[in-house]
């Protein structure tokens, strides 16, 4: 294959940027179009809601309302851009850290938190919203996304699947197998790596020696790009290009977004053990919400009123979530037997009877 083909697959040597940390526009390569202004305004509103959702979920966890919560504070540009780059017919394959993306997809936040709340299922109907259950076994969902993309391709639909995956997740064998399958089948799937610099406590330098994770694409013949993950405009622009590349039948696309996990891995984690405050402070300066706000204000696309309205909307979103999460739910213990198979096996029927008898005995 020609050197030109190889160059066409490789990412830019530095992350794509449209807006710098001060909120000023910088020149981006011509091949990436600036997203429509209206979309940027919508993205801003979702980011504000997303950030508020995230702090609310963290608070609910402290109150014992969630079993665990992995915050994505600091990654809102990625979470929102990932979703806004998709159309309704497209599928999203999120990880446990992508609740904000699900919120931006329009899912009921209470449903989004069902699993983390301690229930046994994902809360929403995946097929109805075209969002797979949030996935914990790392990188496994990247293959499912590839399979779904291939399903859509085979059915002649024009849907695209987008798989979210973390920097740590790229080390798993499934990530490799997914990129390879997608490339060989030319499946319309976008692999979106949120490189937030850590896999729990393990920093990127111990995760990979690659020039950048985006360089993984060429080894599969997958077109790749890297982007400043705290620049909403850049992430959205590049992901839109990636999605249209896939939708156009040109195969998969890999995007690495360089971002940062501002909070600990989850509420149960103690980030002080492995990173210093100084690093966190440095990344605060790159805050994606403030950056987009400054940029949009600078371009006259956002007024003080808009900002205030977004804040108000986010607050009422949080209040509603709080109220509904504070309501206790009843779980039907016997339902644990009902969805293991389409019909319970004779063994499960017996076990259900055993539990039913126990519960009856307890009640009487």
């Amino acid at each position: 294959m020609s050197a030109k083909t190889v160059r066409g697959l490789l990412p830019s040597s530095a992350p794509i940027r449209f807006v710098d940390e001060s909120g000023s526009a910088v020149k981006a390569p011509a091949k990436y179009a600036a997203p429509p202004d209206e979309l940027l305004r919508a993205a801003y509103r979702w980011m504000v809601v997303g950030r508020r959702f995230d702090t609310q979920a963290t608070a609910l966890t402290k109150q014992g309302r969630l079993a665990v919560y992995p915050s994505s504070r600091g990654q809102e540009a990625c979470q929102v851009a990932g979703v806004l780059a998709l159309r309704e017919q497209d599928w999203l394959f999120p990880t446990y850290r992508d609740s904000v993306a699900l919120v931006a997809r329009g899912l009921d936040p209470v449903e989004v938190l069902t699993l983390l709340r301690g229930d046994w299922h994902c809360g929403y109907d995946p097929a109805a919203v075209r969002v797979a259950p949030q996935c914990t076994p790392l990188a496994t969902q990247v293959l499912h996304a590839t399979g779904m993309a291939e399903a859509m391709r085979r059915k002649g639909e024009d849907g695209v699947a987008m798989a979210f995956v973390g920097d740590g997740g790229t080390s798993e064998g499934d990530f490799h197998e997914a990129l390879n399958f997608a490339a060989v089948f030319k499946a319309p799937v976008v692999f979106f790596v949120q490189n937030n610099q850590y896999a729990i406590s393990v920093p990127l330098a111990r995760q990979s020696a690659a020039p950048a994770l985006a360089y993984k694409g060429v080894g599969y013949g997958v077109r790749s790009e890297q982007v400043d993950g705290n620049d909403l405009v850049a992430v959205l622009s590049v992901l839109r290009a990636a999605v249209e590349h896939a939708r156009g039948g040109r195969g998969p696309f890999l995007v690495e977004a360089h971002t940062y996990r501002m909070d600990a891995h989850t509420n149960a984690d103690d980030a002080g053990r492995y990173r210093d405050d100084e690093e966190v402070r440095r990344w605060s300066a790159a805050d994606p919400v403030r950056r987009l706000e400054t940029y949009l204000r600078g371009r006259g696309l956002l007024t003080g009123e808009d900002v205030e309205a977004a804040g108000v909307r986010a607050e009422s979103f949080a209040a509603d979530l709080r109220a509904r999460m504070n309501a206790d739910t009843e779980a039907d213990l016997l339902e644990i037997f009902d969805h293991v198979y389409a019909e319970p096996t004779p063994q499960l029927r017996e076990q259900r009877e055993l539990l039913r008898a126990e519960l009856n005995a307890q009640e009487s």
Binding site: L115, W120, H121, C122, D125, P126, A127, A132, P133, P137, T140, V142, L143, H144, A145, T146, G147, M148, A149, E150, A151, M152, R154, K155, A161, G173, D174, H176, E177, A178, N180, F181, V184, D338, H339, V340, Y341, A342, T345, P346, Q347
Partner: protein
């Protein structure tokens, strides 16, 4: 009825499934133009096209993970793992996703897919090619686990598996691929999915077996008959769901039971059968439920596998230990070997 090999029966089942349901897709390593290393998919790419039966890159987790996505997208994937031990790279996808997706979506997403696994030994295979891996799957809730012992069952159980709304691990006993028998593939006479069958009725003791061990059990029963001992042989057919009814009825009747499996014994499916039988038939039992299984060693290579594989003699030795003291009508078994 025509006589067919199990391999032919399986091929016909896949063929008929492709014909009857356009959602069925067959893929895996070498299942396309080559027709699979055992030729179970022979001619399917030629006759149904690459869109229906195709080769994938060489990665088992990838194959199963792709199947999960395709099933979520409305297809009915039937994937082949080339050999038993080569399904292990897919273990996480199988245990954490295939088995659980229905449950973790409260039944909203079904996962109708079949994972075909040629398994077991007796074919002179080198290392890693002869594992009996059924216990790994049977112990994993959410999977159905099937293994046929006759060409007719191979056909119908595979048709059932493809039509099933749940994921099925379909274990094909390699050593029976070329075994032939009369088989009705046109009109169903085979027992329903989920039911065991009595392959041979008998009064004196029950041999419970599945997959490759059924043949051994049948031969043992024939040999024992020469000694006047009337053994019943139960073929499980599906390990999950398990047909307690048929097994229990048999053992209650005969009062004695030997479980035969090819897999290493420790914590295998045979342990489950023995445990269930004594739980449910304790007062009918005249002797403990005995197990005849492979040894707890890595599957041995061609030159040594005959020592490992539970054969007729080992089964008859176990039957002999069933304490027929209370049954003067049962003569002591006298076999050439003993």
């Amino acid at each position: 009825m025509p006589t067919v090999s199990m391999a032919q029966a399986l091929n016909t089942a896949l063929r008929d499934a492709l014909r009857d349901d356009e959602r069925v897709l067959i893929f895996g390593e070498d299942v396309g133009p080559l027709g699979g290393v055992f030729r179970i998919t022979d001619g399917l790419t030629r006759d149904f096209g690459e869109q229906r039966c195709f080769d994938t890159p060489l990665a088992e987790s990838g194959i199963v993970g792709l199947a999960v996505g395709l099933a979520m997208g409305g297809f009915r994937p039937v994937v082949e793992m080339q050999f038993d031990a080569f399904a292990y790279p897919a273990f996480e996808q199988i245990a954490s996703h295939v088995a659980k997706l229905r449950n973790r979506t409260r039944g909203r997403l079904a996962l109708p897919m079949v994972i075909r696994v040629p398994y077991g030994g007796g074919v002179g295979g080198v290392e890693h090619h002869c594992d009996s891996s059924e216990a790994y799957y049977a112990h994993t809730p959410g999977l159905k686990v099937v293994t046929p012992a006759t060409p007719e069952d191979a056909y119908w159980l595979l048709r059932d598996a493809v039509a099933d709304p749940d994921p099925v691990v379909f274990l094909e006993p390699k050593k029976l691929y070329w075994s032939k028998a009369e088989a009705g593939l046109e009109r169903r006479a085979a027992a329903p999915f989920g039911r065991a069958v009595v392959r041979r009725p008998g009064r004196d003791a029950t041999l419970v077996a599945y997959g490759p061990a059924v043949l051994v059990a049948m031969e043992a029963a024939t040999a024992a008959a020469e000694d006047g001992l009337d053994l019943e042989v139960v073929d499980l057919r599906t390990i999950v769901p398990f047909d307690d009814e048929t097994v229990v009825a048999s053992v209650r009747r005969t009062g004695r039971c030997v479980v035969v499996q090819e897999a290493q014994g420790f914590a295998g499916v045979g342990a489950e059968i023995a445990a269930r039988v004594q739980e449910r038939c304790f007062h009918s039992l005249a002797a403990p439920v005995l197990r005849v299984a492979g040894f707890d060693v890595p599957y041995p290579p061609p030159k040594l596998e005959h020592a490992h594989l539970p054969g007729v003699d080992r089964v008859l030795d176990a039957v002999e230990r069933l304490q027929f003291g209370d049954r003067p009508d049962v003569r002591h078994l006298s076999r050439g070997a003993a």
